[in-house]
């Protein structure tokens, strides 16, 4: 939590303001997660329009840059069309829980970490699972055919995606010797990334990202929310504010999975050692946290845009193809990566 103290000191406050953890959580969600959500939503729409020879958003602000804000304001004005069922209420609770429980454990730089335990990696992983559970319950609670099918598909997908991605994490843990964020970052350098350490870790990287896409039902592999055959699945009867929350939750899952991937495989937040010691010599720790955060987010955005590129250029996979792919391809490859990493670490 010391980064909040750093900022408070840099801004001229005393470090004894009450409610610091809350301030920290609010800062993370307001200044990191929300802007990232808006940025990626905008880039997704604009770049996919470019890829498909369309225009994309062009009315709101310069080149439609305010489109995410406009979307959000529009959704917040709308009331839900239906009264809430018990299942939907349960989903809301789970959703909010998943959203805020793992905020404290997001790794955003060496100084900007609030919780770092032996099991750090599994906290966001757990929140991704809760998100999948919430989506499933929302679908099953709707008593409509698309919602119900979407719920079943979400359950099947998250089950299929968990297994390979969990093994992907184990490979990295075996390589780095710990599941602590700090230890995982310490095992990498500025350009010395875990995914390039040896071929099995590259395989583990692919498996981890693919498993995450299946688990969270993200763009190319989102059978549980398919528009064409089940009219949007779980999302079909979610409207207005609930839809805003639902979309935000899905984005949050995507974002946190990408941050995890960057920290596990792509050099975490490590900046060149010389730069870091230069900042330390200047006693500018705030600068360190800003530069580290920027570098980490930059890599995260590139990864997300890469995934969205694949998603927009390829047709959506059918739901049975997705689960087949996860169990039949990612699963065995994950085991190969695990065995390979084990041998490589021993030798």
């Amino acid at each position: 939590m010391n980064w909040v103290f750093l900022w408070l000191r840099a801004l001229g406050f005393s470090a004894t303001v009450p409610g610091i953890p809350l301030i920290a959580l609010a800062c993370i969600s307001l200044f990191v997660i929300l802007p990232s959500c808006a940025l990626i939503a905008y880039l997704d729409r604009k770049l996919s329009a470019d890829l498909q020879a369309r225009v994309g958003p062009c009315r709101t602000g310069y080149r439609g840059m305010l489109q995410p804000v406009a979307d959000c304001v529009k959704l917040l004005q709308k009331n839900s069309m239906h009264s809430q069922t018990l299942g939907e209420l349960l989903w809301m609770l789970l959703h909010t829980m998943a959203l805020y429980a793992s905020l404290a454990a997001i790794p955003l730089g060496s100084l900007a970490m609030m919780v770092d335990t032996q099991m750090s990696v599994f906290i966001p992983f757990w929140s991704a699972l809760v998100l999948a559970l919430g989506t499933m319950l929302l679908g099953l609670g709707q008593y409509t055919t698309p919602g119900w099918l979407g719920g079943i598909r979400t359950a099947a997908q998250s089950l299929a995606g968990t297994f390979p991605s969990l093994i992907g994490i184990l490979c990295v843990g075996m390589h780095a010797g710990s599941f602590r964020w700090s230890a995982l970052a310490a095992s990498q350098g500025f350009l010395h990334w875990t995914m390039f350490a040896h071929p099995f870790l590259l395989l583990a990287f692919v498996v981890f990202v693919g498993g995450g896409l299946v688990l969270l039902a993200i763009a190319p592999l989102d059978g549980g929310l398919a528009m064409s055959d089940i009219h949007g699945g779980v999302a079909v009867h979610v409207t207005g504010r609930q839809l805003a929350l639902f979309q935000f939750g899905r984005f949050y899952g995507f974002f946190i999975w990408s941050v995890m991937t960057v920290v596990l495989f792509m050099g975490a937040w490590r900046i060149p050692e010389s730069l870091r010691s230069w900042f330390l010599a200047l006693d500018a720790e705030v600068c360190i946290s800003v530069v580290e955060l920027t570098w980490l987010l930059l890599k995260t955005y590139v990864l997300m845009l890469f995934i969205l590129w694949i998603a927009r250029a390829n047709p959506r996979a059918r739901v049975d193809q997705i689960t087949d792919f996860s169990w039949g391809v990612l699963g065995p490859l994950a085991l190969v990566a695990l065995v390979g990493t084990a041998f490589w670490t021993m030798v």
Partner: protein
């Protein structure tokens, strides 16, 4: 030996082969979109048009020549044949007709198009023999109530008095002919 090779190694080969093949296909379609992103070449321009309204400074006249707007039926020419009703894939046209002023004339009493279901496929316009049913250039048809989306072009049911008048008129017209 043969059986062994077929069962394990060849199966493994085809398994890896299909993985590599599908990865290459995914990468292929990704790279196929790159020229569009980077705007290389002539054919890479946007294929869509701006929505016609004051912001894009386009009007309904700028719509493509064959664009299909809301439907309009010129009820004077409509023969009430019901072809459009039969051909409509969305089942959103309702036609009812009855005998008109003359035995040779048809009175189209009901002609309702439910735009909440219409997909603007244009089949009804294609099949209309007297070409009474046309697409207009109007493209904005939002309404607050679902019922407001039903457009009625029919002349309405013929009342008994009207029928009586027609009957008398027909008699008056035919009587002098008989006398001459």
């Amino acid at each position: 030996m043969m059986y062994f090779r077929r069962s394990v190694f060849i199966a493994l080969f085809w398994y890896l082969h299909s993985i590599v093949k599908s990865s290459l296909s995914i990468a292929g379609s990704c790279f196929a979109t790159l020229p569009y992103l980077l705007r290389i070449g002539e054919s890479r321009k946007e294929v869509t048009d701006g929505y016609p309204d004051p912001i894009s400074s386009k009007t309904a006249d700028d719509l493509p020549p064959r664009s299909r707007g809301l439907l309009f039926n010129d009820i004077e020419r409509c023969t009430g044949c019901g072809d459009c009703e039969h051909v409509c894939p969305a089942g959103c046209i309702e036609v009812a007709s009855e005998p008109g002023a003359h035995d040779s004339r048809i009175w189209v009493s009901v002609f309702d198009v439910d735009f909440s279901r219409c997909v603007f496929c244009g089949l009804c316009v294609d099949i209309c023999q007297p070409m009474s049913l046309v697409h207009t250039r109007q493209y904005e048809g939002a309404a607050y109530q679902l019922e407001d989306l039903v457009a009625s072009f029919g002349r309405g049911q013929v009342t008994e008095e009207q029928r009586e008048k027609w009957h008398l008129a027909r008699q008056r017209l035919s009587a002098p002919q008989e006398g001459a």
